[in-house]
Symmetry: C2
Subunit: 477 residues, 2 copies
């Protein structure tokens, strides 16, 4: 069966068997199906249960009087080969093995996993074992009741189930929604390459992010990354680049790993965007999700703090971006609205306390945003200072905030405008923060993170140009 | 007048003049004095105001019928030289110039600043200009009404007023309290070296953190850093290491800057702890504030996610720390409490879903914490997953959380135990997060940040040993 047909059954199954639903941990799984509004048919399998949650249980998949597209296997490791054989008998095309106790566990587990692969070969495809499986809000397939039922354009694949959950929760609180998420564990059959290839062709997916511990089949992986990168941004966080990390991976998903340098060089050539931590991956995805591509390297920056201005300048320098002065016309107008001292109308524009006077920050944003010298705009919104200075003047605080957001909205359609809110938690700022998320602004914890994200978008765009044009020419020849 | 006497007057003034209180921005300043519980005498100076907030105003400092220890100058830049002369006439020992419009502003401003220095020389000492001044909760001196009136052992000096505010707010929400904070701006007279030297001798200060844009007088600065580092940790975030950063500094505080490499090498020799961002500085301070020093490089790690385990291993490798296996006795006991598959009792201990069973995570923490093979412990508390899995079972969630915290409390007295909560905001987890802060745990957003902080503490401790012993020997000779 071609991979696309298989993945169609995995992501959009008309019927799913949940094999081995038994303990409380497994009920969480079942409950998630209801939260996800799964609209196919559900067949729980357990010889010891008759009915639960209004569902009839079957002793085996063989007893189900219906075709089954996809099965989730939750039974203990040593029973899995037998279960797989039943699934093959039932002509199920693909299974997700949730169960652990395979190559990540022991030499015996490794043998058991090899046995699975042998049994399945040519007959059934496997996701896992040792993983959470699939979240596809469009079909309602999910493994966490806290995952949003809304769809979006980001896909995430993860060799760690824990990270897949943390990533979805982090992202959805910031307004990101997902097309498909796969926690794929030991990858004994369908692996990162198969998933990335499918998602590269998937129309519902606009951006792919991945957490990968070890690669199976390096050459094909690189080819696929290159092909996919020509179509959409592919963000890859590869862990286990150190010896100790590799050792931890061996007992996590049993994967083999390569050298850090070789990896980075190969990825760069493929056009993939390499990240190196959870936050790095998350913020990079956030930028690609919400921002248009910058036209060039010139960043305009509106700050309230002089210190933040310095940090923004350092960050741009390091990332290979520039902060040119605004055009003379813009500078002239800026001088007309800010206090004559304590501020700077060179770029970064340091508004200092003038930021808090109505009609200053919002106008400065529009002036700099419309300046032909700028390709993107970074705007600091000092939520905490606003909350602090206007503690009992909510209306005044709201007026300034609303005006700033309105200006950013005007600019962001043409120029990428990341928002920076310095990493200070505060209960008073929550409503304003939520407002920014609602207006689909990506919010970053500092200038460094925002600049890094912009630089990555630019680098990808630049890689895309020479790499996509010859491609087209060749096809004409 | 010796520097110590000057600083005594600056941080603990018996009487303060607020010169030029006039606009609303300045009232914020005055209000802060009331929030800070300032217990000295206050003399607002403004010829146009008679009374406000119950305080009598004076037309000039000369008219105040009392000695004045310290003055805050808020008048426009070009009036400041005249005001300084009046302060000298009044025999005021030190002033803080809040006003901007000096060397950071223009060539004329630079001349004005030079004039100030000339007038003041030998007669009065200056903090600033172009800065927020002093926060000393012990005396009640403050510049933000949101700053805590409680004292603590961290001192922070900052060339940026905005960062000084952001830093205090960030830190105090995490349980840190301050001995002294100084936003010192252009540093035309008293500078970073003077401040660090004073704080090095200050008994109320246990740790010093600094945000510095440019150094005045390199040789003495290095000598002071070395001397102070022998007494207490000195954490320095130096910005403006790039060309663009240096340009932004010129228009922020007018300071000159040096090369990045020279700086890092010099700092390392001095024993100072170099950081390179707001968060880096903040989390490093958090670690030094709350954690005992690790005895050695061996880190034990308790995780719920296998992915996080891999990241922790990578981070330790990079930071030069190790993750040795637990002793056989510990491993044996761990195997007795965790599920046989899907987990790992090698270090990092990956508890997977076993984490959520009562009596597992808390016992694992105590076992690993008491293991003689470990010098410190990193504990993941998966607050979000706890909140998610036990959404309607608050009691059960609370039981698991409380047991984990109780175990961490037992261990942390003897072994540094940073807590890691992955960067996922969630309203449901707030009460638990607040609990951790109340119990004085430093909470980090990921393993990388926690490990980096531990490694810095260890490096500082190691630097201290060879550098302090010969010192003592010499004094005996």
């Amino acid at each position: 069966m071609p991979a696309n047909t298989i993945f169609q059954k995995i992501f959009y199954p008309r019927s799913v068997a949940l094999i081995g639903i038994s303990s409380r941990q497994n009920w969480t799984f079942l409950r998630a199906f209801f939260f996800g509004n799964f609209n196919g048919r559900l067949y729980p399998i357990n010889p010891k249960v008759d009915h639960y949650l209004g569902l009839k249980f079957y002793p085996s998949v063989r007893d189900v009087p219906d075709e089954i597209d996809y099965a989730v296997i939750l039974t203990p490791a040593n029973s899995v080969p037998g279960v797989i054989e039943e699934c093959i008998d039932k002509k199920i095309s693909a299974v997700h093995i949730f169960s652990s106790g395979f190559s990540e566990h022991s030499p015996e587990g490794k043998k058991l996993e090899e046995e699975l692969v042998r049994i399945a070969k040519g007959k059934i495809r496997i996701i896992g074992p040792n993983c959470m499986g699939v979240y596809c809000p469009e079909s309602g397939l999910t493994y966490r009741s806290s995952f949003s039922p809304e769809s979006g354009k980001l896909a995430f694949i993860s060799q760690s189930g824990g990270f897949s959950i943390a990533f979805v929760l982090w992202a959805q609180e910031r307004g990101i929604r997902f097309s498909k998420v796969v926690s794929y564990g030991n990858a004994c059959d369908l692996n990162e390459t198969d998933l990335i290839e499918y998602l590269g062709n998937d129309e519902k997916t606009g951006i792919i992010a991945a957490y990968i511990e070890g690669i199976k089949g390096g050459r094909r992986f690189l080819d696929v990354c290159r092909k996919v990168s020509m179509k959409k941004p592919l963000i890859i966080w590869k862990s286990g680049k150190t010896e100790d990390g590799a050792r931890a991976i061996a007992s996590h998903t049993g994967a083999l790993t390569g050298s850090a340098e070789a990896w980075d060089a190969a990825m760069k050539q493929c056009g993939a965007i390499c990240t190196d931590s959870f936050e790095d991956t998350a913020y990079t995805s956030l930028a690609f999700y919400f921002l248009p591509y910058p036209r060039g390297r010139r960043v305009g920056c509106i700050e309230m703090s002089g210190g933040a201005s310095v940090v923004a300048s350092d960050a741009c320098s390091r990332a290979g971006l520039s902060m040119p002065p605004p055009s003379e016309g813009t500078a002239e107008k800026l001088r007309g609205i800010v206090a004559p001292v304590g501020t700077s109308v060179r770029n970064p524009i340091d508004l200092a306390a003038s930021y808090l006077h109505p009609g200053v920050a919002d106008r400065a944003i529009e002036l700099l945003g419309r300046d032909k010298n700028m390709d993107s705009l970074i705007v600091e919104i000092p939520l905490r200072v606003i909350a602090d200075v206007f503690f009992w003047q909510e209306e005044e605080a709201g007026t300034i905030f609303d005006a700033v957001v309105a200006s950013c909205k005007k600019i962001k359609e043409t120029k990428p405008t990341p928002i920076v809110i310095h990493p200070i938690t505060s209960k008073t700022r929550e409503a304003m923060y939520d407002d920014l998320v609602r207006h689909k602004f990506p919010v970053f914890p500092d200038e460094e993170v925002a600049v890094k994200a912009l630089a990555r978008m630019l680098r990808y765009k630049e890689w895309l140009k020479p790499n996509s044009k010859p491609q087209k020419k060749r096809s004409k020849n």
